[in-house]
Amino acid sequence: MTDRQTLLLCLLPALLLLAVTQFYPLAQSLRVSLHDWTLARSPVMGEFVGGANYLRVLNDRQFSGALSFTLSLALGSTLLSLAAGFALALLTLGEDWRFRMSRTLLLLPMVIAPVAVGTVWRMMLAARIGPVNEALRALGLPTPNWLGDPRLAQFTLTVIDAWQWTPFVMIVMSAALASLPSEVLRAAQMDGAGRALILRRIVLPMVLPVLLLVAMFRMVDALMTLDIVFTTTGGGPGFATQTLGYWIYVQGLRYFNISYAAAASWLLLVLCMATAAGFLVWRKRIMAWQGGQ
């Protein structure tokens, strides 16, 4: 067997698996979204309806509500985790054992299953008996209804998502900072008035491409949020914390409105891909502009 044949054989199994378990279902999903099918009422797919499902989704108040919450959660969580993660990367910069240990410990929220994170925070934030409000009560501070008030619940979920993924930002930015030329690193670590300026004028532009890449990952993942909604609020109170992912899950796997859910999921897919592409283009532009400087 020639080298070329061997290599092709190496490539094939992975591609085949992907084709069967990802791309074929993807195509099926598209096909189903163009027909009329509610699994509970009929075991076989119904007739072709073209874009009717898509139109219904776009006109559904549930969809627009979920879309608006998903966007605000994605933006909020991304900005929050970028800021906190970058700050933590700066704060823990250095080879001192204390910094290295801090970086290690700080990564823990990220490795826990999102569903478990949701459960943990639900317990922490129980308005009447949870530890957070217990502590606030002991300090004489107001005790908000973190998950029971609709507006506040949206904010709370955003913060929980940021809490979980800030370590990811921190890790990547730590690596980015560590790969900077040593003079820059030393300047960034020194105390004093010049520090902020150096960070803003020199360090930030140098790590901007990486920052944008991390932002892309965060934003796209946040748009797909489903797990934490499941275990904190179940989309409630009312419909307040329904993300697109959660709403699609309920439509498809709880009510079995398959073609409706398929159409909505393709709309979410387009949103995610467009976001990723947008960030990549932006990043390319920045790098080109920086390269030209």
Partner: protein
Amino acid sequence: MTRTTIMTAGAIASLALGSAALAQTVEFSVMESGTNDVAARQIADELAVAGGPRVNISAFPWAVLRQNNTTDLISGTNQYDVMSGGYYLADVYAYFQPLDDLIDRDGFAEGMIDNLMEPGRSEWADGRQIGIPYGIDAYGLLINTAMLEAAGVEPSFTDWDAVIAACPVIEAATGEACLSHPTGSPEQIGAFFFSGYAGTFIDGDGGYALDSVAATAAAEDIVTLWSFLPENGTAMSFDEAHAAFANGQAAILVTWPSFVTGVLDAEGSAIAGGWQQIDFPGTGFPWLSLWQLFVPAATEDREAAWAWIKAFAGPENATNNLVAHSMNSVWAATYEDETLMAARAHYWPATTVGFARAKNPPLTGEAQDFLTNTLQEIANGRTPPADGIASINSTWAGLPVPPPLLEAAQGSGLAAE
């Protein structure tokens, strides 16, 4: 001694031989609530010892049970031989087999609470019975006797307006919240609506529709009632809500009585002897929870499934299910038992009245979820009541009514002529 041994051996042998055909496995799905599932495991063990079929119990929380049962049938997996469920499985009734012949053959219905085997209570499809009741509960209202006395309020409310009128008085007199309820489980808010709304759920054209005026009034009542919850009490779990009542932080508890009566009367409970259940207010109906056993059409060993049904739901285990597992019996005899009644005089009278009045809302899972979620939006002040009801009607217009639910609704007066 030897003779007894031989006779016992012979009895066991014949039982074993006779049950060789019955040495099947029955897969059973049930709610994981600490009541139904625990009872199921106990009875399954006893059944196995007595030579009956081996029963494998799969227990899930309510929403997961509903989803798993539905998925199991629709996907054709057919993992379960007997399923536990209720009216909300209406979408998949076509997948269950009728049990009329077995009911008649063994005279199973004799001695059951009146009317429980009728359509509208038990589940029927195409004129034949598919669901066998085994546990019944009706949403209840429990009061803290001392707190109501202190406020000078009569422990009797005909409708929610009466409760709304009494609550400020109670709160002023006791300094505690008036109402506790598992607000954190979104579907529970339905209890207030079903009892406060006296209209129909299905219109003359056979589609889901609420009478806007009556529904809006009921929704407005819910908004007011929510103001009487304990502080930060809009997302309480069942445990929290029950604990608030048990610890004297709320004068009235609106919940499923079977979840809490055992806890309230347990040793060491702060409120033992200081509470009672009274008739559920409202001109509508108390929400009925009639747990039933269904047999999927794909189940092959009917006799094994039926043996399990008789063991689990039959009168023999009813008393033990009640006493040990807080599962309310569906058999009339249980409620005529003097000893049981003596220990339960502070809630059984209201409970049995509730059973007679209680109904199932003729709603599919999706219709009910949309109703209760929107009611939550209304209760939280995110949507004005009239708008919320309008959006319910508009979404409901797109949801078909399964024929069995239509039949049931017509039978129980919840469908327009």
